[in-house]
């Protein structure tokens, strides 16, 4: 059971992780560099939330992003202060091409991350960099990207 769970979770993460490079990053700035490993749910994540993540993953694999979204939201209602859930949500938005919303969710994720998950924070900053770049905020995008890189060097 646990094997299946971690496998499918990995798939979700892999799928959502792949999303990060989906929107065009543009020639001016190299954002969206893939982290070496994927962000996993924190160790304290509760069983119902893991179950919902599993289901969200299934939906995402079948391309049913609106279903995945609904399941992630259910997970968020159970653990509203779980930074990783907000991060998955941001990735989903990124994949849906809703960059501005993705950036809001990524910032929310970062505001809740009190631990040392640098990778999560770096990824969130990458998402924010994407969104800012798309919005034409070049300096903002550069700043976000620098923060992502600085964090990436720490993990």
């Amino acid at each position: 059971m646990n094997m299946i769970r971690s496998l499918s979770l990995f798939l979700l993460i892999a799928l959502l992780g792949a999303c990060a490079s989906a929107p065009d990053s543009g020639p001016g700035l190299e954002v969206g560099e893939q982290p070496a490993t994927q962000v996993r749910p924190a160790t304290g994540t509760s069983r119902p939330v893991l179950a919902l993540l599993e289901q969200a993953n299934q939906a995402a694999r079948q391309g049913e992003l609106a279903v995945a979204e609904a399941r992630l939201e259910r997970a968020l209602r159970i653990e509203p202060r779980n930074a990783v859930l907000w991060y998955y949500m941001a990735k989903l938005r990124l994949h849906q091409g809703r960059l501005e919303e993705a950036a809001g969710l990524a910032a929310k994720s970062n505001s809740l991350e009190r631990g040392d998950n640098r990778q999560l924070q770096a990824d969130n900053w990458r998402i924010i960099a994407h969104a800012r770049q798309r919005a034409g905020d070049e300096s903002g995008a550069r700043e976000a990207d620098q923060r992502a890189r600085a964090l990436a060097n720490e993990y």
């Binding site: 069983r47 289901q55 939906a59 609106a66 939201e73 209602r77 509203p80 949500m89 929310k108 505001s111």
Partner: protein, 785 residues
């Protein structure tokens, strides 16, 4: 050629009149009169028939297709580790119409097994998939779910119950119908209607001549009307045009329309329309139409869950709701009900044992009748408003859409009861003779979902929705925006920065002078910023606001979510600006969510009648304020209930509940506000009078009491100070803003952006002595600020 042809007929035509003129000049008028009369009559008859046909079809189609949108509350999710008491779960199951029945393991039944609860859920189609029916056992320990198992003993991580239905969206605002589809109608009811009212229903053409003859005979014998010969179809037609007129002409019309109806539509549709349309009683000026509504009205449950005796009672009422009035003619109704049970037994619809059980059952009509089908009119009002932005009214009232909302029925009930209870108490206490009103908005702290909304002290009353429409000055609720604007400049202002609370007089361009005063009338000289905020000092706030400027404060308000124009004059700094409780909730939501603004949401998903997903309203967050700065402000708002104007809360909340909030009072005590939150929920309460006269209540003595009562029972996470990389926390002396220690009198635990905290240490003991001397009055002052 053309000429000849054209000429010949002319000649012919010309010859006719000649002939007739030559012939019977006297006979002609008579023959013509008859012919015209006959043709005329035929035209009138056909025309009238067509008119009747059009009328009855329009009525029937109109009713048949009008399937109102069905609105659901949130579906309760159950999981191990969840704080949920057995009583709460049982309440939810009852709300869903589950029965306490140890004998049945069918869907919709539950039973207690010691400290466990066993029940079988009903299958339900959600946006993200179908939940199958499951038989589960839930184990509790001390108000928490410890274990969730299915019937095979397998552990479940999560279970989602069906969402409770909370109402429908109807064409006319006050019209209430509980429309049912024939598929959802208990077969026993269908059988009973046909057996009792119209045995030949499935065979006749809309009229039953034999039944009419039988009825006439019976009536002649008795010398009065004792039996009706109307078919269900005729009764339905009659119900479309309810009048008390009982003329032959009317009956003839009804008969023709019944034939037409039967000709156009299948029996099943006619029966369905009958079940939804028939008049079954009166509640004041509200007519009870249809078995769906009648089931709610008489038995307070959905039609599908009626017992045999209850079905028979409703069928009895269909014959004459006032003749068989349950209260005035209970015995008469009981006798007829039992006759109907006999008929069902004879027809095999009920086995002898069930029939006997049904006969022995009391009438069981509920006395405390639910006032309305929409139990939560204020919330439904909001749902309707948000839907109207995206859907045509016609689609909402006729397409059978399924609307999934964010309402939490348990919290809603808690909010309704607390508001009603506290208002009744305060109203009496202040001799307000019933004029005190109020509103409550409760949201989820992080996602901005509306969990409860109350717009009247009588929550069932669908009148003025104060939660959405009472736009009132917010008084000191505005102060956090002023202080947040200051704290956004951490190099200039921290919570410990000393500011001036001495008297101030401002002069407007037109020469008018304004001298705001503190509520107590006292001035406090130089005090730390947080002391001014948590005690809601007006003089210090106006001085601070004037130093900051109106525009930056207006910007902060907009970032919090205010959409109105913020007036740029000094009294704005003390809240002389109008907002509704709903708008205030939107703004405080941004604080509760740490600087992230989410539009308040009431609808999660919309599905078509057949379960096809149509539209989602996803969670959206936008960072509009620096989260560290908001964290700093919130650390001070957390001290309001401990040390500031909301100290009365400690008597209401269980120990250990850490909440943040702010009281608000307006001039002459006209409006009483409290807005506050913990890590899970945000609540805004307003109390006041519709005529805007003084209530004698401050935020602390009025709205705070309602808020406290609601939050005392609300399961939720306490606010935790979480030091991040950018923040540090210190105990601060309330007099001088210097570093103090835990346990020192009045010391507040406050957040600072790293590097901005004060360095000087205060003398705890000395300060303690001085504070102690004035302490006895502190709690007293808190009540009135």
């Amino acid at each position: 050629m053309p000429r000849r042809k054209s000429v010949a007929p002319r000649r012919k035509r010309a010859s006719r009149p000649n002939r007739s003129r030559k012939g019977a000049a006297r006979k002609r008028p008579r023959r013509f009169r008859w012919r015209y009369l006959f043709v005329g009559l035929l035209i009138v008859l056909v025309g009238y028939g067509a008119y009747l046909d059009f009328t009855i079809r329009t009525h029937f189609e109109g009713k048949r297709w009008a399937l109102p949108a069905k609105v659901y509350a949130r579906a309760l999710e159950i999981y191990p580790g969840q704080a949920l008491a057995p009583a709460q779960l049982e309440r939810e199951l009852k709300l869903l119409g589950y029965r306490d029945n140890a004998a049945s393991r069918a869907a919709g039944n539950y039973t207690h097994l010691g400290d466990r609860l066993r029940f079988t859920t009903r299958a339900f189609q959600f946006w993200d998939g179908r939940e199958p029916s499951r038989q589960v056992t839930v184990q509790f320990d001390n108000g928490t779910i410890t274990r969730l198992q299915d019937q095979y003993g397998a552990e479940l991580n999560l279970l989602r119950l069906e969402p409770p239905a909370i109402g429908g969206i109807y064409p006319h605002h006050r019209e209430e119908r509980v429309l049912v589809r024939l598929l959802d109608v208990p077969p026993l009811l269908q059988q009973a209607l046909v057996a009792v009212e119209d045995r030949q229903f499935y065979d006749h053409w809309g009229l039953d001549p034999r039944a009419i003859a039988r009825a006439m005979l019976a009536n002649l014998k008795a010398g009065r009307t004792v039996q009706g010969g109307s078919t269900l179809t005729q009764q339905l037609v009659k119900n479309f045009f309810l009048t008390n007129e009982r003329t032959l002409w009317r009956k003839a019309n009804e008969a023709v329309m019944a034939l037409l109806l039967d000709w156009h539509y299948p029996k099943t549709e006619i029966l369905e329309a009958y079940i939804n349309e028939i008049y079954l009683g009166q509640d004041g000026d509200r007519a009870i139409h249809g078995f769906g509504l009648a089931a709610r009205f008489y038995f307070d449950k959905p039609l599908a869950r009626l017992e045999a005796n209850e079905i028979a009672t409703l069928v009895a009422l269909a014959r004459g709701p006032s003749y068989y009035h349950p209260e005035r003619h209970g015995q008469r109704l009981l006798a007829r009900r039992n006759r109907i049970i006999d008929i069902l037994e004879q027809d095999g619809g009920l086995d002898p044992a069930s029939a006997q059980q049904a006969r022995l059952a009391p009438l069981g009509v509920v006395s405390g009748k639910p006032g309305a089908i929409s139990d939560h009119p204020a919330f439904m009002d909001l749902v309707r408003r948000q839907l109207r932005e995206q859907y045509r009214q016609q689609d909402l009232t006729s397409e059978g859409l399924q609307i999934f909302t964010t309402l939490d029925p348990a919290i809603q009930q808690q909010a309704e009861q607390s508001l009603s209870r506290q208002i009744t108490r305060l109203d009496q206490q202040r001799n307000l003779s019933g004029s005190l009103q109020g509103a409550v908005v409760i949201t989820s702290a992080s996602g901005g979902e509306i969990l409860a909304l109350v717009g009247d002290r009588n929550a069932r009353f669908a009148g003025f929705n104060r939660a959405l429409d009472a736009s009132r000055p917010i008084g000191s609720l505005i102060k956090p925006a002023v202080y947040l604007t200051a704290l956004a400049q951490p190099q200039t202002y921290t919570l410990a920065t000393l500011i001036d609370d001495s008297p101030i007089t401002l002069q407007a361009d037109n020469g008018t002078r304004w001298s705001p005063q503190n509520y107590s009338g006292e001035s406090h000289g130089q005090i730390p910023l947080f002391t001014a905020l948590i005690n809601s000092y007006n003089q210090a706030t106006v001085r601070l606001g004037m130093a900051l400027g109106f525009e930056p404060i207006a910007t902060t308000l907009r970032r919090l979510g205010a959409t109105r124009d913020i007036p740029a004059y000094p009294s704005m700094l003390l809240g002389a600006v109008n907002f509704t409780p709903y708008e205030v909730a939107g703004m405080y939501q941004t604080l509760a969510a740490g600087g992230f603004r989410s539009p308040l949401r009431v609808i999660r998903e919309v599905l078509a009648a057949d379960g096809e997903p149509l539209r989602r309203y996803p969670v959206k967050v936008e960072q509009t304020l620096d989260s560290q700065t908001v964290q700093v402000l919130n650390s001070a708002l957390q001290e309001v209930p401990r040390l500031g104007t909301a100290r009365a809360l400690s008597a209401q909340l269980p120990p250990g509940s850490r909440v943040a909030g702010k009281t608000g009072t307006t001039d002459d005590l006209r409006d009483s506000w409290f807005a506050g939150f913990n890590a899970s929920h945000l609540g805004v309460v307003w109390l006041g009078r519709d005529d805007n006269q003084p209530t004698g209540l401050t935020g602390a003595s009025g709205a705070l009491r309602v808020w406290g009562e609601i939050f005392a029972d609300l399961p939720g996470q306490p606010l935790e100070p979480v030091p991040g990389k950018a923040l540090e926390y210190h105990w601060i002396d309330p007099r001088n803003g210097q570093i103090s220690e835990q346990g020192c009198p009045g010391a507040a635990y406050l957040a600072f952006i790293k590097g901005t905290a004060p360095r000087q240490k205060s003398d705890c003991a000395g300060g303690g002595e001085r504070r102690k001397s004035s302490n006895p009055f502190n709690w007293f002052k808190g009540l009135f600020q």
